[in-house]
Amino acid sequence: MNWTVLGIWLGALLSLSLYSFLYKDNPFYKFAEHLFVGMSAGYWVIYTIKNVLIPNWWDNLVPSEGGMQPVWLIPGFLGLFMVLRVVPKLSSLSRLSLALIVGTGAGLSMTAMFQTNALAQVNGTIIALGQGGGWFSWASNIIIVTGVVCGLVYFFFSKAHTGAIGQAANVGITILMVAFGASFGYTVMARISLLIGQTQFLLFEWLPTMGIHL
């Protein structure tokens, strides 16, 4: 038995152990679950050290051409502060690192986020109804504009949802339900896709190791 076949068998047995939870909780499922969590954590630690800490920090702190770059001690200490969260007396130091991360992230993404997810979307909604040509474009553009306006009306709580406002809010909630339905449909497709992927592995990679070819 070579390593590839051993890997396929391990993968297949662990997959079946995890799927056994669909019948009921059992020791095989527990074993596979704990193994997955433990190995994932171990893998991440090693991967992070090898691919993040060493090339991005250590190799800059102590370059191969010799000498030491003390400025790289600063990110080292900031990283160490994050770990100090587990020491109650020193945990407040982690706020320095977190402040830097949050500040940098907010500064970089605040404008970009507003531009990408708000301004560009508003701009995309302000369209000439006949834009695109043809009855389909007309209908699509009317649905987009009506849907956005009515959806916003549904979330306008300073006026009672009665009369025309109430009818617009009803259209808004209907549009929202259609959107949620589309999301649910896509979610179902995603979960079935994962099942299909794993079934393909079991049928076309695992079974052939036992001489069963479908």
Binding site: N56, A112, Q115, S193, Q200
Partner: protein, 285 residues
């Protein structure tokens, strides 16, 4: 006393699991095939956008996923690499997710070997860097300071494919295969809108509805959503190609369709059962 229809509402969930398992296993086992019609939509837009690139163009392909979403995204990676390399478009790849590096390598090597392409000339894998959106901003000004060496530790300055590639603006298109964050939104936000670079993408079906607004506004040139998007692309890429390797998404679509029919059947039965029970108790007039 509950009728048969009402009892259907209390069907044991394990029976549903068995039916769903059979709905997937049987079509795959008998290699059931259903036609995949390609009509106007984000998959075709994506194909046309890549197809419109002239030979010699440079595309940044970012593998922002891990093995948990392989069934949906790996077929897209292979089909995209197939189209790009067939058209002699140079691929500079990288990953915002650590495991994306090896998955991307797997796809690129398999297609490169089948088409006789050369690493460092026709494609290169720069590897993974942490940082997400912050990293993309840095790539916007200087790629080689972020990736001085590739995945294997070779200096990028020595690679023919990296000639003239110094910043994101030097690419003709960026394509992100994304399983979440960081992924498509970060590329649209930090690269597409900021540097005006065409962004294409593929994503899991779960996140596809979230990205559709980017298509309507032109912030993305195309989008492959889930297994259906992957099957669409496999189908389009294989048109007119002799001995094209069979993908995994296209055969999976028959199983997907049968499973969806099963789910729809259970939803309809559940609702009928609910309405019958409610009517019997006088809830529905």
């Amino acid at each position: 006393m509950a009728t048969f229809v009402e009892k259907l509402g209390d069907i044991d969930r394990r029976i549903i699991f068995i039916v769903m398992a059979l709905a997937v296993i049987i079509p795959l086992s008998v290699r059931m095939s259903l036609p995949i019609p390609i009509s106007a939509g984000p998959s075709l837009d994506m194909y046309n956008a890549v197809d419109a690139l002239p030979a010699g163009s440079k595309v940044l392909l970012s593998f922002d996923y891990d093995p948990s979403t392989m069934p949906e995204l790996q077929p897209m990676a292979i089909a995209l690499a197939q189209q790009l390399m067939t058209k002699d478009i140079k691929i500079v790849s990288m990953a915002l997710w650590p495991m994306g590096v090896s998955l991307g390598n797997e796809a690129l090597i398999s297609v490169s070997d089948s088409l006789g392409r050369e690493e460092y000339v026709d494609w290169v894998n720069l590897g993974y860097k942490t940082g997400g959106g912050v990293l993309i901003v840095r790539l916007g000004s200087d790629i080689k300071s972020v990736f001085p060496v590739d995945y294997d530790g070779n200096p990028v300055d020595d690679m023919p494919i990296m000639d003239g590639v110094n910043k994101l603006g030097d690419f003709d298109m960026i394509i992100s295969l994304s399983a979440g964050d960081p992924g498509v939104p970060a590329w649209v936000m930090m690269a597409g809108d900021r540097y005006n670079i065409p962004i294409g993408g593929g994503c899991t079906a779960v996140s596809a509805p979230q990205f559709y607004p980017y298509l309507g506004t032109g912030q993305m040139v195309g989008l492959l959503g889930g297994l259906k998007g992957a099957a669409d692309y496999e189908t389009m890429v294989r048109v007119g190609v002799e001995n094209a390797p069979a993908g995994t998404a296209t055969p999976g679509m028959a199983a997907q369709s049968v499973a969806h029919l099963g789910i729809m059947l259970f939803i309809i039965l559940g609702n009928i059962s609910y309405l019958v029970a409610k009517k019997r108790k006088g809830g529905v007039k």
